[in-house]
């Protein structure tokens, strides 16, 4: 029996009021488990990114709950939500959002610096994670000296460095060529996913669907269907 990492209960999110009210997410219910690689897929405007923001404690839903350890995270204070994101969630943004003037190691160390870790310790840990993603020899390079795939790996190392339980990838293959994208997903599945982590990937790249343990299809803010490749 797999343990639930994060769950959504009747999540609604709308923008505008009265006749201008538009639902971005409507009555979304789902569970993501530890050891699971869950894809959220769907066309542009289907609510994937909004749902991702709600799950990660960034955008408050208008209705419903996001449960972690059976607690609704949206009952927490802003500081507690920031703490939650810093300690229990790792983000890999679509555009990576690396800091161009910092080295790869310094970029990876950012979450640890935000946790008030000693600078030298943070850099040492960052280098360990760069080693895990295969960039040991490039820790002193700035992002502009790295290829798209390498920048993606730096972003992954940054997401992993604080050992979060939930990793969230936003369109990880969108900026990469097909082969590099495939290698990144293989790397994520084989090297990062463990029984203590849950990885949620938002994508509309159907070339990588085969790597998923579960696929949540969204359209018009609703879950159209959920596919799971294993029994819970």
């Amino acid at each position: 029996m797999k343990k639930v990492a994060i769950a959504g209960l009747h999540i609604d999110k709308w923008f505008g009021e009265n006749e201008n009210k538009t639902y971005a997410v409507r009555d979304v219910n789902f569970e993501a488990f530890f050891g699971e690689l869950l894809f959220i897929v769907g066309p542009s405007g289907s609510g994937k990114t909004t749902l991702l923001s709600i799950l990660s404690g960034i955008l408050k839903p208008d209705r419903g709950q996001v449960l972690v350890d059976n607690t609704d995270i949206w009952q927490w204070s802003q500081d507690a939500l920031a703490e939650f994101r810093l300690n229990r969630i790792g983000f890999v943004f679509q555009d990576y959002h690396l800091f161009p003037k910092l080295t790869a190691a310094e970029n990876v160390a950012i979450p640890l610096i935000l946790k008030n870790k000693d600078w030298d310790e943070a850099i040492a840990s960052a280098k360990e994670y760069l080693d895990i993603v295969g960039l040991k020899n490039k820790s002193e390079l700035s992002p502009s000296k790295l290829s798209g795939g390498e920048q993606q790996r730096v972003a992954i190392a940054r997401a992993m460095v604080s050992r979060p339980e939930i990793l969230i990838f936003d369109e990880p293959t969108a900026s990469l060529d097909g082969e590099t994208g495939k290698r990144i997903i293989e790397f994520v599945k084989n090297e990062i996913l463990s029984e203590h982590t849950c990885i949620i990937i938002v994508t509309h790249d159907n070339r990588i669907y085969s790597y998923a343990d579960g696929i949540m299809h969204m359209e018009d803010g609703k879950i159209q269907r959920m596919e799971k490749s294993y029994a819970q």
Binding site: I58, F93, D95, L114
Partner: protein
């Protein structure tokens, strides 16, 4: 700041602003200090004057009975007359030079300056004058002991060269002579006594002396009070104070605008980076600290550069132009620092407002 160009732009803006503010305040401070230089140089503890007097050169002559009255007061050790006047000196080369003449009491020479050359008793010699070696000294052709020139067709003979704590405001040389000679050489009004200088028996007697003088319709001020009165006159009753104040305010606004605008642009251009930090888990106070630290460090660095530049400029100017009145004092440095902190606070504030409004949700949209 992640952007070298903007950092230098901001730094230059703050440096320029601090440079201007420090220069303005230093000039003002120098001018105010010189305006009361003679009060300091004469060194009397208490000055008696007409209440309408608001600057040293604008003295209203006192009747002689004020001197007699002051001498008769119990707490007074001694009281002496002093004369301030101005005249034109005709130099050896035929040119005329405006001069300031101070006449000291003939018997005590109270208020006399410290001499660098010559003997004070030579002042009693015929036509004896002492010249002050200040920034204006060379305007008399760098006189030596024995040098002579004319004053209202009277001969002036230099018998001593005096030191001065600081030069006067109006850029004219100062000569000391005896009271009687001064009022003889320079045309005067009915009353000739410019001020009465009092040496009290003890400082505790000063309030009583002030009260007694007030009864006579005149004013007795300590040296510090007289300096403050002269300063207040230049600050508030001439255009000097308001003009320099306005220039300082303009310099401050220039700094504020450059720093605020540059910092705001920097924040706007790095919105997605701050958004990413927020999404990763940076707390509000960490972002506030980040922005404040950047603004404050840049402003403090700009302050150091601006003060250094202003001090160097003043040092060079004073070395080459003895009349240059600016002086850097701790109060001015403190005030500049306070204004720079306000610039830093303002820049931080507009930056923080923007950063705190960033929705990390936006960065998921790419």
């Amino acid at each position: 700041m992640n952007d070298r160009g903007k950092f230098f732009g901001l730094l230059m803006g703050v440096t320029f602003s601090v440079f201007l503010m420090t220069m303005m305040m230093s000039m003002f401070s120098g001018i105010i200090s010189r305006a009361s230089a003679t009060i300091d140089n004469v060194g009397a503890k208490v000055w008696v004057l007409d209440p309408a007097v608001n600057n040293l050169q604008g003295g209203i002559p006192l009747p002689d009975y004020v001197l007699d009255y002051a001498k008769s007061l119990n707490g007074v050790a001694h009281a002496e007359p002093i004369y301030f006047g101005s005249a034109l000196a005709k130099l050896h080369n035929g040119t005329y030079q405006a001069i300031s003449v101070i006449g000291l009491d003939d018997s005590t020479l109270f208020g006399r300056p410290a001499l660098i050359e010559g003997k004070i008793e030579d002042l009693f010699a015929e036509n004896g004058f002492i010249v002050v070696k200040d920034a204006e000294f060379e305007k008399l052709g760098n006189p030596k002991i024995g040098s002579e020139f004319e004053l209202n067709d009277f001969r002036v003979k230099i018998v001593g060269i005096a030191d001065a704590k600081q030069s006067g405001l109006f850029g004219i040389p100062t000569l000391y002579t005896t009271y009687k000679r001064a009022i003889t050489y320079i045309p005067t009004t009915r009353f000739r006594l410019s001020y009465v200088l009092i040496e009290p028996k003890a400082d505790s007697e000063i309030p009583m002396i002030k009260a007694q003088i007030k009864k006579l319709g005149y004013e007795a001020l300590t040296r510090e009070e007289f300096i403050a009165k002269v300063s207040a006159f230049y600050k508030f009753k001439t255009g000097l104070g308001i003009n320099i104040f306005l220039m300082t305010v303009i310099s401050f606004i220039v700094g504020l605008s450059i720093a605020g605008q540059t910092f705001y642009t920097f924040i706007v251009e790095n919105m997605e980076k701050f958004g990413a930090l927020k999404a990763i888990g940076a707390k509000k106070r960490q972002l506030v600290l980040m922005v404040t630290t950047q603004a404050t460090l840049t402003c403090i660095l700009g302050y150091g550069l601006g003060v250094g530049l202003a001090s160097s400029s003043i040092f060079i100017a004073r070395a080459n132009m003895p009349d240059y009145a600016a002086r850097v004092i701790f109060f001015n440095l403190g005030l500049s620092f306070l204004l720079v902190l306000i610039i830093a606070a303002f820049s931080s504030f507009i930056g923080i407002r923007k950063v705190l409004k960033i929705q990390p949700f936006e960065i998921f949209r790419g």
